[in-house]
């Protein structure tokens, strides 16, 4: 597509998103939807421009010792923890173990979470990226991501069928641990930031300096063409996360998918009528659908369309369709991610990013286990020569 045409189309999409946002905001119920749509759009732009993708960033580091992506993730977590603390401190001035902050993604911590996160990590290595990255890459024209998302749908279905057994076996006894509830705000902040600092130190020590052969970009090029600098990307992700939590709900990309699958599975008789404990666990991700448009649904739509617009503007929209092997890998990885996201009550965005920002121990467990799963997957694939 000629660059002028693609940039015009990009502007048109942005205008359409804004117009839809204004139209939605006409009544009280719509204001939340409108806010969610625009937050999702902003998130889509930042993901695409900053190439904020958990697996790609990990792979860049493992294979090329390029730390830029990991620095973006660590910046997002660190800045997010600080911003979240500002909100949490207003809502729950005195943290107590039995009073969790409203709506925060603080999941039960136990073996099931670790296994789910490991499966998710393995799945993202096999399918090529995590669920949020599949969504923004869909906007870049990577249509194979649709197959990964379909696989994730099947994974969710499997997750729903194993949930009741897992819940009564162990999840029931797994406590939702909230760091400020255990240590207080100051110590929780100190512990979290120190842990991130340590990881950053280890990563940067082993990183190779990027070759700096590029001339300094002009402002237009820096914003619309080149990849955004990692720290700025991280800060923007953190700000969007905190704003979303303040006004609607913590960032997450799987709630709508989970709800769609649960509703469809329920009517087909494939999902148990009652998912024990699920609807009472904080950060639950799969209410049965009662409305066509949900805040998470419009968030995801905004994410994909804004990423498309951003890819069109930067000339990075490249329609592609993988070969049969690629499709199979995306589907299989998607199934693992779907099962992991359902069983772990979220994914890299919901549990890892929003969870760690909120001070949830479950976020850290997800980070460690999903990284282990992804590394196992990347190693395995390399051995297979894929």
């Amino acid at each position: 597509m000629p660059i002028l045409a693609s940039r015009s189309l990009s502007l048109l999409i942005v205008a359409a998103l804004i117009a839809w946002g204004i139209w939605l905001a006409q009544d009280a119920a719509g204001r939340v939807l409108s806010f969610s749509l625009l937050t999702g759009s902003a998130f889509g732009i930042v993901l695409q421009r900053g190439r904020f993708c958990f697996l790609c960033n990990l792979r860049d580091f493992v294979e090329r010792r390029d730390a830029a992506g990991l620095v973006a993730i660590l910046s997002a977590l660190a800045a997010g923890i600080v911003l979240y603390q500002v909100i949490l401190g207003a809502w729950v001035p005195v943290p107590q173990p039995d009073r969790l902050p409203p709506g925060a993604h603080i999941g039960p911590v136990g073996l099931v979470l670790a296994a789910a996160a490991f499966a998710f990590g393995l799945g993202m290595a096999i399918s090529g990226s995590c669920l949020s990255a599949h969504l923004y890459r869909l906007g870049e024209g990577a249509f194979g991501s649709i197959v990964a998302l379909a696989g994730a749908g099947l994974g969710f279905l499997l997750g729903f069928s194993t949930w009741n057994f897992l819940y009564t076996s162990t999840v029931f006894n797994d406590p939702p641990l909230w760091l400020p509830g255990i240590f207080g705000y100051a110590a929780a902040l100190g512990i979290s930031l120190s842990a991130l600092g340590l990881i950053a130190f280890l990563v940067l020590r082993r990183a190779q300096r990027p070759e700096n052969g590029l001339s300094p970009p002009q402002p237009f090029e820096a914003i619309f063409i080149r990849r955004w600098p990692p720290v700025i990307t991280g800060l923007l992700v953190a700000v969007i996360g905190a704003i979303a939590y303040l006004r609607v709900a913590p960032l997450g990309v799987t709630a709508e998918l989970g709800s769609l699958v649960r509703t469809a599975g329920l009517s087909a008789g494939l999902v148990p009528e009652t998912l024990v404990g699920l609807d009472t666990v904080r950060g639950c991700l799969s209410a049965v659908k009662t409305a066509v448009l949900s805040p998470n649904g419009v968030f995801v739509i905004g994410l994909v369309l804004a990423s498309l617009s951003s890819a069109l503007a930067s000339g990075q929209f490249r329609p592609s369709w993988p070969n049969a092997g690629g499709l199979a890998a995306r589907f299989a990885g998607g199934v693992l991610m779907g099962w992991g996201a359902m069983t772990g009550l979220g994914c890299t965005v919901g549990v890892l990013l929003s969870g760690i920002q909120a001070g949830a121990v479950s976020g850290w467990v997800f980070l460690i286990s999903a990284t282990a799963g992804a590394l196992a997957g990347l190693t395995g694939l390399r051995r297979l020569g894929a």
């Binding site: 009280a28 207003a90 809502w91 729950v92 001035p93 005195v94 902050p101 409203p102 709506g103």
Partner: protein, 309 residues
């Protein structure tokens, strides 16, 4: 600059009084948002939010309002009962409530659980100090009035609660006596017409179930929503009186209200007791207790048979 500020304040005051000029309260057990705004700083007034949706309070509440979590603060978390005297006394002491404090309750969902809270206060002898913010949280928000996330910190009081006054509380045996014709109290079932008729066991998505459908014999059906206006405020005293009179409830006999788990029926209890002044008690066991009880008479107009599905 000061003059402009002064004019702005005057204009805002004029606008506010115009907004509330038409508000007429059905009884002095109700206060409107204007009254609450005027008393936000009043040390003798303590505001509590009791919302069905827990988590709403933390994200923003009426400035200075304390929180009553209905899952833990108003009930006994172990057995099915209202909060124990010791636990409730501690909650109120922590909130600085004293024997001369005016207690204002409000919440989401048309004050459902705020009214339930009012009933619990009544059981513990503080009913005369309690007022409901008419229209609740919904109207406060609709009027664009401010919300705050700060939590109030009041000096503890030394309040001592009275023993439970069970005259406003109907127990299972009381309603069985009505059903069997040994007690001539009037029963009001405030659930939906379909639940009353026995067409459904419980509303969609509800987990508190009974294995029999229908209603307690002799109960009349007046869904709670009939006595509120579009904006969530109670209808006028005369209108409410007429709605119940139509169903044979005129205050000449004691009244018992019930619903599914006994919380929504507090809304009707409040209207009858506090607005109309009738002798009324709330059956907090409600249909989940009665519809599961063995051997009691049931009226099931629809004839639905429970099949475990």
């Amino acid at each position: 600059m000061t003059a402009i500020k002064g004019m702005t304040v005057l204009a805002a005051a004029a606008l506010t009084s115009a907004m509330f000029a038409g508000s007429v309260l059905a009884s002095d057990a109700l206060v409107d948002s204007k009254w609450v705004q005027d008393n936000l700083e009043n040390p003798k007034v303590r505001i509590f939010e009791v919302s069905v949706d827990t988590g709403v309070y933390e994200r923003g509440h009426i400035p200075g309002a304390a929180h009553l979590n209905w899952h833990t603060d108003l009930v006994d978390p172990q057995k099915r009962d209202i909060a124990s005297r010791e636990a409730f006394e501690k909650t109120l002491r922590d909130a600085g409530v004293d024997k001369d404090t005016t207690i204002v309750l409000y919440g989401d969902n048309n004050n459902w659980f705020a009214a339930w809270g009012a009933w619990v206060f009544e059981v513990y002898g503080l009913g005369n100090q309690v007022k409901l913010l008419d229209g609740g949280r919904k109207l406060w928000e609709a009027q664009g009035l401010p919300l705050d996330t700060a939590l109030p910190d009041h000096a503890d009081s030394t309040l001592t609660l009275a023993d439970r006054d069970n005259s406003v509380r109907a127990r299972f045996v009381d309603v069985v006596a009505v059903a069997e014709g040994r007690n001539d109290a009037k029963l009001i079932d405030i659930r939906s017409a379909d639940e009353y008729a026995g067409k459904i066991f419980a509303p969609e998505g509800v987990k508190e179930l009974s294995v029999r459908a229908g209603h307690i014999p002799s109960a009349v059906n007046v869904p709670w929503g009939r006595i509120v206006k579009e904006d969530g405020t109670f209808k006028s005293e005369d209108e409410i009186k007429a709605i119940y009179a139509e169903k044979g409830i005129d205050g000449s006999k004691p009244v018992i209200t019930y619903c599914r788990i006994g919380e929504r029926s507090s809304h009707t209890w409040f209207a009858l007791k506090k607005i109309l002044g009738y002798d009324v008690s709330n059956y907090d066991g409600s249909w989940t207790e009665y519809g599961n009880a063995v051997g009691v008479p049931v009226t099931n107009i629809a004839g639905t048979v429970w099949t475990g599905k």
